[in-house]
Symmetry: C2
Subunit: 500 residues, 2 copies
């Protein structure tokens, strides 16, 4: 007795909904772990997360998935575009999960879990050699994994990249990202000559006042407390989806901008999640389309909006009042403080000009590692020499260099480029947004950002994963993916700001 | 090829560990829902919980479970007592879950989920008739469920009772609980004559000061903040297990005792969970043995310790200081305030004397409902007449009577008696504890409760589920389960307190 196609689709859809719900449950546990869990809960939580991972792996590799997908693909002409997208996306997930042997998945999970401790210790000791053997092991495992999941002729790096930016390839990515370097380098050098003209914050800033202002920022940037919350965590992050999309930030007495702009960044992620199409909420087509697009939403709110002159005019009097620093309400002082450009070693603290140079460095290194063109033993030296070439200064130690990011220790290869893609997409989207809505300065100066959110909802969020990321970005921005809008935006902004 | 017995046990154990971990994950989600989740998260959370429930049901009814258990039971002579307990307890869970048809489980889940809203509305409207049809439906479904899970000749009520107090039967429970009534009734009448001598709190009490004192109480009662946290929720509860055992309380400006004694009550539950045997942490033998024993731990800390004269002497100066009410530090004023006895309608607000009469009323009614000796239509009237008989006053409306508790609306039949069993067990345990440790007054007056916890750890907590509850209580207290120690304790306490 063979089931009818609609019945098969329903069975498949129920299974996918359940899988998404389990993945959301794991998300709640992760949030809790970072924000609420008492320290001694770690061992038990690891068991809970492992059990959930196993169950999710069982669900996605369920042999019925293969049967359903085979039957549905045979009859896919009968499906709506949404149904077809669900089938297409589920096939990818199924193939990805089914191709990796259980032994390898377990080995990867165990190795990366232990590697985080090794990495953290090595970073604290500024000792790359202490981490290198572990990294070698991870890279071997990731290359082995890539071997299983890669399509015919696909490179290891392209196969891993597809986990985060489906459809993207090194052939497209390399010219796109490397194309940023010449103008970014030139810009940073021009700014360096005017470094002395940039004002800098000093003094201390009350933690309570930082959090209060962060909440005020979230309010004015359309965050709905009925479906979110703001808490503290060591590393800011966003978590959850429609109905319950939470953000965290951090507080540093000497750097209120970290608290405020982490809030805005994570809020951009959260607004995307709550804006995903409700009618496909638990299905593949209703999920975020790529990490690059996710990052475009956080960066657009953080930079194009949060760090623009008009919005800084909204912020300045509130900032001055919150911290009792009336001098910061004067003229464009706060705008200049917020957009101070300075060569630094740490990616996460980088300004808009340096940020993509950091990402580019990591992308090129990890691509070389995966392709076998760079050995783990040579990585520290290679990092140092490439950094000095791009940033004009020497890396003092490994904690400020090759050991600064957690990503490689947890097996994330192919993730870094999505940070730069996010910036590229954000600039394209904002350009189109200004074309469609007219100048936004008047609105931003008054803290009116509803039109911007509505535009993003309509052109990005509500599209879910119906289109691949590059097609979505092209459709939304009205032009093919390109670094030009980002470079134009940066050159224009800093030329005006520093009178270059 | 047949697997060896140890291999079979290992496969079975890994499966059970995973099941426990998933159940703990669901516990974290429930805690989050009550304490942290933004309101619009409810729909998504329902999907997540449903997915987890389905997965857990799939795991416990996995056909391999039956095969493993058959093989292990054949070879059970080879196992340690712990392994044997794991096999015995898992068999019960497997049988319970496998016997209920999926259709019925789904129907029960859906009906009780919707019933909570119906019940809440009916209670708000004080309209029993609005809830009666739903209750009828639930009772029909629970009787049907009992029909599936009952052993030969076992009554429906006994079958349901076993979900909460394995091994307990109406034949034992009825004389045990009903045996409390004569002396409790006599005691409440004697106290009523002295009602005018009991002091009562008035005024308002700062919420911050309540929470601060609640934390101080938790400290002195051995709560470890490294494996727990205290938050606010509408209804206080405890959640979690070893390493992460959280409690909540509530705050009422006019009733600081609600905040403080809910904290102590939930802390008693939490201390039990973190004291369960570490070596069997994720296995059936490492879980709490029954709800009655769980409640004995909360009630012992709340009443025998928290509300005794010696501990109230520790509390009084701290209470007086916390709320700037020096008069409450005088003599035994606070002790008398805390132990004020008053006839009330609401179980959860009842004093130690009235509490078990409330439970008795519910036990007898629900047993009659399940046995078909009482119709849902007659329930409200029956409640009213039995209440008046036991409490000497008429129920003003259904919200203060038959609609006050959520239990029946969520399908909990057989749960209420565990509250009274908890009180009975607690009194037995405390009697033995005083025999073993000598008088505790000196220690309690100084807030020293470590010896008490150590005794409970050794005699109750660390036993996990290795013995059935009644055997455990008999072994720990040195006497068979009996209501006498509870009645003696109450008569002695209130005779001294009110000079009866």
């Amino acid at each position: 007795m063979s089931a009818s196609l609609p019945d098969t689709y329903d069975a498949f859809a129920a299974h996918m909904r359940q899988l998404t719900a389990l993945s959301q449950a794991a998300g709640v546990l992760s949030w809790d772990q970072e924000v609420m869990m008492p320290p001694k809960g770690a061992a038990g939580r690891a068991e809970q997360m492992a059990a959930l991972s196993t169950v999710m792996h069982e669900k996605i590799t369920d042999p019925r998935m293969g049967d359903w997908l085979d039957a549905l693909e045979d009859g896919s002409a009968d499906f709506s575009s949404v149904e077809a997208a669900n089938i297409r996306l589920a096939r990818k997930k199924y193939a990805r999960a089914s191709k990796v042997p259980g032994r390898l998945a377990t080995e990867l999970a165990r190795t990366t879990s232990m590697a985080q401790t090794v990495w953290a210790k090595a970073r604290a000791a500024k000792d790359y050699a202490a981490f290198a053997p572990t990294l070698k092991n991870i890279i071997d495992l990731k290359r082995e994994e890539a071997g299983y999941i890669a399509a015919d002729g696909q490179s290891a790096y392209d196969a891993l990249l597809a986990d985060f930016e489906p459809g993207m390839t090194v052939a497209v990515l390399r010219p796109l990202l490397e194309g940023l370097r010449p103008r970014l380098s030139a810009l940073r050098e021009r700014i360096a000559e005017k470094a002395h003209t940039q004002p800098k914050l000093s003094g201390t800033f009350s933690a309570d006042a930082q959090m209060k202002l962060a909440r005020e920022l979230a309010d004015v940037l359309n965050y709905d407390w009925q479906e979110g919350r703001l808490d503290l965590s060591v590393h800011p992050f966003s978590s959850g989806t429609r109905g319950d999309s939470r953000i965290t930030t951090r507080v540093d007495d000497h750097d209120p901008m970290g608290c405020l702009y982490s809030t805005v960044h994570e809020l951009g992620h959260a607004l995307y999640e709550v804006g995903l199409p409700e009618e496909h909420q638990f299905m593949p087509a209703g999920q975020h389309v790529s990490m690059g697009v996710h990052e475009s939403q956080s960066r657009l709110w953080e930079n194009q909006i949060g760090r623009c002159a008009a919005f800084c005019r909204w912020l300045a009097p509130r900032f001055a009042k919150a911290f009792d620093r009336p001098e910061l309400a004067q003229g464009d002082t706060l705008y200049r403080v917020i957009n101070r450009v300075e060569t630094g070693f740490i990616r996460t603290e980088a300004d808009e000009v340096h940020y993509n140079l950091h990402v580019l460095l990591r992308f090129e290194l990890e691509e070389d590692l995966m392709a076998g063109n760079l050995s783990v033993d040579d990585l520290e030296g290679e990092w140092a020499s490439r950094f000095e070439r791009d940033f004009g200064t020497a890396v003092p130690d490994a904690s400020l260099g090759v050991l600064q990011d957690v990503h490689w220790s947890v097996g994330l290869f192919g993730y870094f480029p999505t940070y730069a893609l996010g910036n590229i997409y954000a600039a394209q989207l904002y350009q189109k947004l200004e074309t469609d809505l007219g100048t936004l300065d008047d609105r931003l100066e008054k803290g009116e950002t509803g039109d911007i959110l509505a535009w993003l909802r309509k052109n990005v969020h509500e599209k879910g994963s119906l289109l691949p990321a590059d097609e979505l970005m092209e459709q939304a921005s009205g032009q093919p993916v390109s670094g030009e809008p980002l470079l134009d935006y940066l050159e224009e902004k800093y030329s005006a700001l520093l009178d270059l």
